[in-house]
């Protein structure tokens, strides 16, 4: 796979703006108008299944905060593109051009939130105006999926209607339209990291969710992360808006990386020390760490799990803010819990289990709203753990 030809630093930092007539890379958008989320999710899942020759495709659609799942859909193999129910999006050429290539039998893969943007661009033929749809991405996804199942995470950049919709639960999202916001650089970044590392060397990937304005880090050049002077690792920020994500490749063991990140979250270490060349006002609000060989093997799995963990951490932090009114459900508030990895996840599952048991022991019945909320949260934690174990091969 070559991933250097279509590199464009501005692309990773801005939402797509495909419907704009000008071919400005910084303002390409894919707008979804007058279409329900279910239709959008179904269409995308069908498109990807056909495009990549997959047996199945599961698509997770998140809200613009990239924290709340608003739709899940899955499809089996779709071999006839004419059967795809088109939705009123601007037509692209990438789908028809690439769909003829058959998939190979094999396993499954999950692509994380930000990486899916490239696939979206391929589907609509809009990733790089004037160039052919990105064959590198298609080859990568096909190679990773090997014709098995593909799980995609896609985010809505902005919910349609008023902002209150974003806080609503799943049913109220029906009929909402918005634009997708995804970023293409994670896969190529991590592929580079894995390529440049000895087979038994440590590759620790950290995803940081940032608050505050300002760009940080150096963008990768031709798919390779740029080292920053005096920094512990290499990394760059994705986007400039709130809740943007920074990707950091740390040349440390997982334990050491987690320890440094905890110092960072506690304010004892600056972001500049970690990643270099940062804007001082940018600060991390949550972090997720995964380790190659220790946690997982393979770029796709690492990205998928790191993305899961970061979304989970964001969700937990949001819950913690909400729960200040209800101390019985209060989550761990120390800095250690703000860095999510497989160990913290396991501890959090145990802790939430105990909170649930305590609530029931205190007299709450199974219909109680608090019990249901804890149960939903626990379910989500368990699903991420099971998905992680699935990437390890421990879950069928």
């Amino acid at each position: 796979m070559t991933c250097a030809d279509d590199f464009d630093p501005a692309d990773g930092a801005k939402p797509l703006a495909a419907s704009a007539p000008r071919m400005n890379l910084q303002h390409r958008r894919v707008f979804l108008r007058g279409t329900g989320l279910r239709q959008v999710a179904d269409y995308l899942a069908q498109s990807f299944a056909a495009l990549l020759g997959l047996e199945a495709c599961v698509l997770y659609l998140y809200d613009h905060r990239r924290a709340n799942l608003v739709a899940v859909t899955s499809v089996g193999r779709v071999t006839d593109l004419r059967r795809l129910g088109r939705i009123p999006l601007d037509p692209g050429t990438g789908l028809a051009a690439l769909a003829a290539s058959p998939g190979e039998p094999g396993g499954s893969v999950s692509l994380p939130l930000w990486d899916s943007r490239r696939l979206l661009g391929v589907v609509y033929g809009r990733m790089n105006p004037g160039r052919v749809p990105d064959p590198g991405l298609v080859n990568l996804a096909r190679a990773m999926a090997r014709g098995g199942a593909l799980a995609l995470s896609v985010a809505l950049a902005k919910p349609g209607g008023n902002s209150g919709v974003a806080k609503a639960r799943l049913p109220r999202y029906q009929g909402v339209a918005g634009e997708f916001l995804l970023n293409p650089y994670l896969t190529r970044y991590l592929e580079s990291a894995l390529r440049l590392t000895q087979p038994d060397g440590a590759v620790v990937l950290a995803l940081l969710r940032l608050a505050g304005p300002g760009c940080l880090g150096r963008l990768p050049y031709r798919g390779c992360p740029v080292p920053a002077p005096r920094a512990l690792g290499r990394g760059f920020g994705l986007g400039r808006g709130s809740n943007r994500v920074a990707v950091v490749w740390l040349g440390l063991s997982r334990q050491d990386a987690a320890a440094r990140l905890r110092l960072l979250m506690a304010g004892s270490l600056s972001l500049d020390d970690i990643i270099g060349r940062t804007a001082a006002v940018a600060r991390p609000t949550s972090a997720a760490v995964v380790s190659h060989n220790e946690d997982l093997v393979g770029a796709g799995s690492m990205l998928a799990v790191a993305s899961d963990l970061l979304d989970l951490q964001t969700c937990l932090q949001s819950t913690r803010r909400d729960e200040r009114r209800e101390p019985v459900h209060q989550l761990t508030g120390d800095a250690a819990a703000m860095v999510m990895d497989s160990h913290v996840l396991a501890q959090e599952i145990d802790r939430q289990r105990q909170v649930l048991q305590d609530a029931i022991a205190s007299g709450c019945d199974f219909q109680d709203r608090h019990v249901r909320e804890i149960s939903e949260r626990l379910d989500r934690l368990i699903v991420v753990m099971m998905r992680l174990m699935g990437h390890r091969g421990a879950v069928p």
């Binding site: 899940v72 649930l356 934690l381 368990i382 099971m386």
Partner: protein
């Protein structure tokens, strides 16, 4: 369920499992784990009527449900002669094995965090997907 025609043998030979699971994340995970079976997700309100009319091979339910809890669901299904023989597996985040047994459940599983136990338990209750009794008529 009698099936005519060999084309339908494989699909109908797969055991039918009804799942009552309120969480979409978990539902998707269960669908993935049980992909070798014919799995249908139902609400607590519809599962009883569906079980009476279609006689699934297994019912899996969470305890914490909106409307009525999984244990009440289990009690009702076990009290009905048409559905009493259908194995009922409680698959829950709540550690309530004793309550599940008291409600008549055939098995209880705490939703796992370290390893998957669902598929083996389903196999134990109703057998592997391919060797099940829902066969085509000769």
């Amino acid at each position: 369920m009698a099936v005519v025609g060999s084309d339908n043998v494989e699909a109908s030979a797969r055991p039918l499992i009804f799942v009552v699971e309120p969480n979409p994340f978990m539902a998707e995970m269960e669908r993935s784990i049980l992909r070798s079976y014919a799995v249908e997700f139902l609400s607590p309100e519809t599962v009883v009527r569906a079980a009476v009319s279609r006689r699934p091979d297994l019912i899996i339910a969470e305890i914490v449900l909106r409307g009525r809890d999984g244990l009440a669901l289990c009690r009702e299904l076990k009290a009905r002669p048409e559905t009493a023989a259908i194995p009922f597996l409680v698959f829950s985040v709540v550690d309530a094995a004793a309550e599940a047994a008291e409600a008549g459940a055939d098995a209880f599983l705490l939703k796992p965090s370290e390893r998957n136990a669902l598929a083996p338990e389903v196999r134990r209750l109703i057998g592997p997907p391919r060797s099940h009794g829902r066969e085509a008529t000769p």
